[in-house]
């Protein structure tokens, strides 16, 4: 928005100097273009940029949202560093991220490989696998709440049938994290399978053909040719999962409530933020938590990038398979 203003105000300021029709035309020549892109920039300035700056100011205050603000300097941030609930929420979020992303990626790869072979009903299968991704998290959290229910839940009924016995899905800390992970896996496997499928279909067939002629079996081809070639798509998927995984909120809140269930095992970073800011009306500290989450997300993204985008090992393996 700030970048648009000079163009417009420059026009009005110089108006008295050059009043020729040609000058007029020239000055207003790009007005339609600026007007066309203005809505986004205006909305972003009001509802995006200004709030971000203001949230830093808020983080320096103590404020319940109604009464007067009280300036407390860096106290909120200092407290954040010693706040065990915050650190626990980071831990929970990362645990749930790992517990969901690893199985999800493996399952999505399997589904993608299956869909990439010459089976029938591909269209219908793709839609079936993708459907969870567009269905409301709140609605499906309620359904899963019943599936996970301790005594009458169908999952425990099945587990009893196969002899595993009851799991205390909504009370035991690890079972709680498992339950949330299952919901995430259910939601995102199809999405990632579609992404991987696109990657598989964009793969140059001559390379796969060459591997086959050179006598590589299906398993060898998969690990030495397909997987390395799929790396950019896998990278995209993992980075997207990380960004999404750090934002987990609805599953926990609907399934377990604002406190993240017994022992707070389902207390994620965003849930803690919501709970502090909008349930406890502690806006100043809530803003500090938001900045804390932001820092964690940035650090995690950098780490992620470094781990996944390492030197081109994939290419070496491709050469190895072609040899």
């Amino acid at each position: 928005m700030t970048a648009i203003l000079p163009a417009e105000s420059a026009g009005t300021r110089r108006a008295p100097v050059r009043r020729t029709p040609a000058g007029h035309r020239k000055r207003w020549r790009y007005l339609p273009q600026y007007l066309a892109i203005a809505p986004f920039f205006v909305l972003f300035a009001i509802f995006g940029l200004y709030p971000v700056l203001y949230s830093f100011y808020l983080a320096l205050q103590r404020w319940d949202g109604v009464g007067p603000m009280k300036f407390v300097g860096l106290q909120n941030f200092a407290y954040l560093l010693t706040d065990t609930t915050f650190w626990d929420s980071i831990g929970n979020t990362l645990i749930i991220f790992v517990m969901s992303t690893v199985p999800m990626t493996a399952l999505a790869l399997l589904v993608a490989l299956g869909l990439n072979s010459s089976v029938r009903y591909k269209g219908a299968l793709r839609v079936a696998y993708f459907l969870p991704n567009v269905t409301s998290i709140v609605a499906m959290s309620l359904v899963f709440g019943s599936i996970f229910s301790d005594e009458f839940g169908i999952l425990n009924w099945v587990l009893r049938l196969v002899g595993i016995g009851d799991v205390d899905w909504l009370n035991d800390p690890w079972a709680i994290r498992g339950a949330i992970s299952i919901m995430i896996i259910w939601r995102w496997t199809g999405y990632n399978a579609i992404i991987f499928l696109a990657g598989l279909q964009a793969m140059p067939t001559d390379v796969l053909e060459a591997a086959r002629i050179d006598g590589a079996g299906p398993v060898q081809t998969f690990f030495r040719v397909t997987l390395p070639l799929l790396r950019p798509v896998l990278l995209f998927s993992v980075v997207m999962s990380a960004i999404g995984g750090l934002q987990i909120f609805s599953e926990s809140q609907v399934l377990l409530g604002n406190r993240g269930g017994p022992g707070g095992a389902g207390m994620t970073m965003v849930l803690y933020f919501y709970n502090t800011a909008f349930a406890d009306n502690d806006f100043g500290y809530g803003a500090a938590i938001a900045w804390g989450i932001f820092v964690v997300v940035v650090l995690f993204s950098i780490l992620n990038w470094r781990l996944v985008a390492r030197p081109e090992r994939g290419q070496v393996q491709t050469k190895g398979a072609g040899r």
């Binding site: 200004y50 072979s117 269209g123 696998y129 459907l131 409301s136 009458f152």
Partner: protein, 274 residues
Amino acid sequence: MTSRRGRILTLVALIIGALITLFPYYWLAVMASNTTADIYTTPPKLTFGGHLFANIGEVFSQINFFGSLLNTLIAAVVTTLLVLFFDSLAAFTFAKYDFPGANLLFGILLATFVVPTQLSAIPQFTIMAHLGWVGDLKALIIPAAANAFGIFWMRQYARGAIPDELLEAARIDGAGFFRTYLSVGLPVLRPALAFLGIFTFVNVWNDYLWPLVVLIDSNHVTLQVALAQLQGAYVKDYSVVMAGTLVAIVPLIIVFLLGARHFIRNIAAGALKG
């Protein structure tokens, strides 16, 4: 791998996976069509019952719930139309016109991707309070009326899809900028509009955190918030909650199925380019 047996095994495995994926929907329908007493049995009742409409009736006797269905529909439709208009207009401009600062502005637009939503949530709430929009659907619609993702995504599409000759022809025919957008840009962008439309509609329909913050305790809650409230109010009557859940997802599933092929293809293409 391409043997007949391999193909059949793969298909069977894929179908089993799909059935597991779809099971929660089946289970939802089973619970919504039975009485709560039928649900709480061991072994659980696995088939549809005859109480679906009674349960839905119970849900709708809660005036709030019917209102929330309407609110969600209004928010989703209006937001989608605004996004389609503003995003396509901006995307068309960025894709096809040179003007001073175009690159810088597009760079700023891309940079806004990294702004996390939690950071702006509290100040946004206070802005809404100042504007008197708390409890009003405007608080959902206006901030979401144009977005960087849609503009970025559609610009990629517009660059390849709109031939410069067409724009030149429009100019020679005396069409102004806006006229050109309407008669040349929009028709060509139709497939992209369909995708962005479904994407936006689904997102608004499903959004939870922001509506929960800004609409709670008002007459304008959305379905997702109403669902959470329904769960709190009907702790004992599970089948009613499930009937409400069913009502909340069926319209969305219909919208998705109508454009599913197209939608899925675009999701995949976006990932490859990204």
